[in-house]
């Protein structure tokens, strides 16, 4: 496999040619929050709006058929992308957050009872915590959190210890958005199934960056967002095993998800539409289809390999910055994320000063307050990488950080 050339790839992304600040080109190191979009994705949506914009599924005229074919075709390609056995298992939602809430409302309210346990980890994103807290509160269930180690890895012995016959559901990020830790999904799913519980994977960070195969993982559900994987905002995916989705009650009620509506009750449409109430994000689904084509053309293996290279390069370069502490494990166990703190400067101030140099990173808790609380830090700065991140980007980050130290008189 030849390593991909990020410099060539950048030409696909109109925004990366932009000058943010006077004559400085954008160094975008915030892809874990949302990725940039290649021209092909923008054009796919424009094509829909300019050439065949129409509502889907119910129309007999040409535009509606074109739109339906494109929208359902996108679903098929997305199903292939994660190796789902059947496009009917791919439900379009707004984002990872909605996907997880859908599970909590539809599967959870029917299957979780008083005293049942839902097992999460301490490195979860709020979107994989709050829906379960709300569910547990309603049902009198208990949410437990598997801790992470000093190194920012999941504490696997503790995970196995916490997994008991009370556990009904395990939900975890296959890649952490702060540590970057790549968790052993297959092992976690297997152990979860061994005790008869369901396994949910929050793939918001993994699906954009690693090859993900739902049949290999054998997970019951997988949630991810289009906007983090070169796709548009406003669309995400819930994958679920067919048998589970079949028996789950609907989540949102309305047009398209019904088979028949009568005044005294209704019956539901087939999968996947049972879970897609109302006019869906049509342009967004089509855009995500184009994103998946774009990523597949390059190859997820190649993307992952490149990100390991760039992450290694970044960790090496950052280690030269005085007073820096990079959170999480070393490059080998981590995706393209480097969250860090610098003694004596608040992450907000780091981010603000870097912005003056045209370098975009994120500062805050990255929707992972429990992780930060555990580390006893109020916030961190985070640089995150993608297939278009170059070593020059990293160099500009490091130069910027050294300037931050200077402004704060730390040298």
């Amino acid at each position: 496999m030849m390593m991909l050339d990020a410099k060539v790839i950048r030409n696909d992304f109109p925004i990366l040619l932009k000058e943010v600040h006077r004559d400085k080109q954008l160094v975008y190191l915030d892809s874990a929050a949302t990725s940039q979009k290649p021209q092909a994705v923008i054009e796919a949506m424009n094509g829909y709006y300019r050439n065949y914009n129409s509502n889907v599924h119910r129309g007999i005229h040409r535009l509606s058929e074109e739109a339906t074919t494109a929208y359902e075709g996108a679903r098929e390609r997305i199903a292939n992308f994660i190796n789902a056995p059947d496009p009917a298992c791919v439900i379009f939602v707004r984002n990872t957050t909605e996907a997880l809430n859908l599970i909590a409302y539809s599967w959870g309210r029917r299957n979780i009872g008083a005293g049942d346990e839902i097992l999460l980890t301490e490195m979860e994103h709020h979107s994989n915590i709050v829906p379960w807290q709300l569910l547990a509160e309603e049902k009198g269930a208990v949410v437990r959190y598997v801790p992470f180690t000093e190194a920012g890895l999941l504490d696997l012995p503790k995970f196995h210890e916490y997994l008991t016959e009370r556990t009904k559901l395990v939900s975890f990020a296959s890649m952490s958005n702060v540590f970057g830790t790549i968790n052993p999904s297959k092992e976690i799913v297997k152990a979860t199934h061994d005790i008869g519980a369901l396994a949910v994977i929050d793939g918001a960070q993994s699906v954009p960056h690693l090859p993900v195969d739902v049949q290999d993982f054998d997970c019951d559900f997988l949630a991810f967002s289009g906007h983090k994987m070169c796709g548009p905002t406003g669309v995400g995916v819930l994958y679920g095993k067919r048998a589970l989705l079949e028996e789950m009650p609907p989540f949102l009620g309305g047009g398209d998800m019904i088979r028949r509506v009568q005044l005294d009750g209704s019956t539901w449409n087939d999968l996947p539409w049972k879970f897609e109430a109302g006019t869906p994000g049509i342009a967004e689904g089509i855009g995500l289809g184009a994103a998946v084509d774009y990523l597949s053309n390059i190859g997820m293996g190649a993307i992952h390999a490149y990100e390991q290279f760039i992450t290694g390069y970044a960790l090496e370069a950052l280690s030269e910055v005085k007073g820096i502490r990079v959170l999480g494990p070393g490059a080998a166990q981590k995706g393209g994320v480097a969250a860090f703190t610098i003694d004596g400067v608040h992450p907000h101030d780091i981010s603000q000063l870097l912005d003056e140099d045209g370098v975009a990173i994120r500062a805050g808790h990255h929707c992972a307050m429990p992780l930060h609380q555990k580390l006893s830090i109020p916030a961190s700065a985070r640089a995150s990488f993608y297939l278009y991140t170059t070593t020059e980007d990293i160099d500009r980050l490091v130069t910027g950080l050294n300037r931050v130290r200077k402004v704060f008189r730390l040298d």
């Binding site: 400067v345 608040h346 992450p347 907000h348 101030d349 603000q352 000063l353 003056e356 500062a363 805050g364 808790h365 307050m369 930060h372 830090i377 109020p378 916030a379 402004v407 704060f408 008189r409």
Partner: protein, 127 residues
């Protein structure tokens, strides 16, 4: 944005510390960034701020703003505090701030006002 004065105040904050006893004290945080500020106020018989201290952690903007605010309000009446506007404080800071950072800059004022209006202290409530 980072004028020397801001960095000076970040390194050497004014009125940093606590007052025991105080007439009122109040703490709040901005959970989005993890900034926390607590203010302690002593009031004299004329309802004027006799003394004030603050403590907390946060970014240079929130810290500098707490220093400047506490310095500015000494001797003011509680009614004057109630009338103290966001603009007053931002002018004191004298730098251009983006939406996100304005929240940092105004945290100390928010805490002070809540204290003056006698809000229940969230720290106390949590106990």
């Amino acid at each position: 944005m980072y004028r020397d004065q801001i960095i000076d105040l970040y390194e050497n904050p004014l009125n940093f510390g606590s007052l025991e006893p105080s007439d009122f004290t109040y703490e709040e945080d901005n959970p989005l960034c993890g900034d926390v500020i607590r203010i302690y106020v002593r009031v004299d018989d004329d309802n004027r701020i006799a003394d004030v201290r603050w403590s907390g952690v946060g970014c240079a903007i929130s810290q500098a703003s707490a220093s400047l605010l506490t310095e500015d309000i000494k001797g003011k009446t509680l009614d004057e505090i109630k009338a103290y506007s966001k603009e007053d404080l931002l002018e004191l800071l004298g730098i251009q701030l983006s939406m996100t950072r304005i929240k940092c800059a105004l945290l100390s004022l928010k805490v002070l006002k809540a204290g003056v209006y006698g809000m229940p202290d969230p720290q106390e409530l949590r106990k």
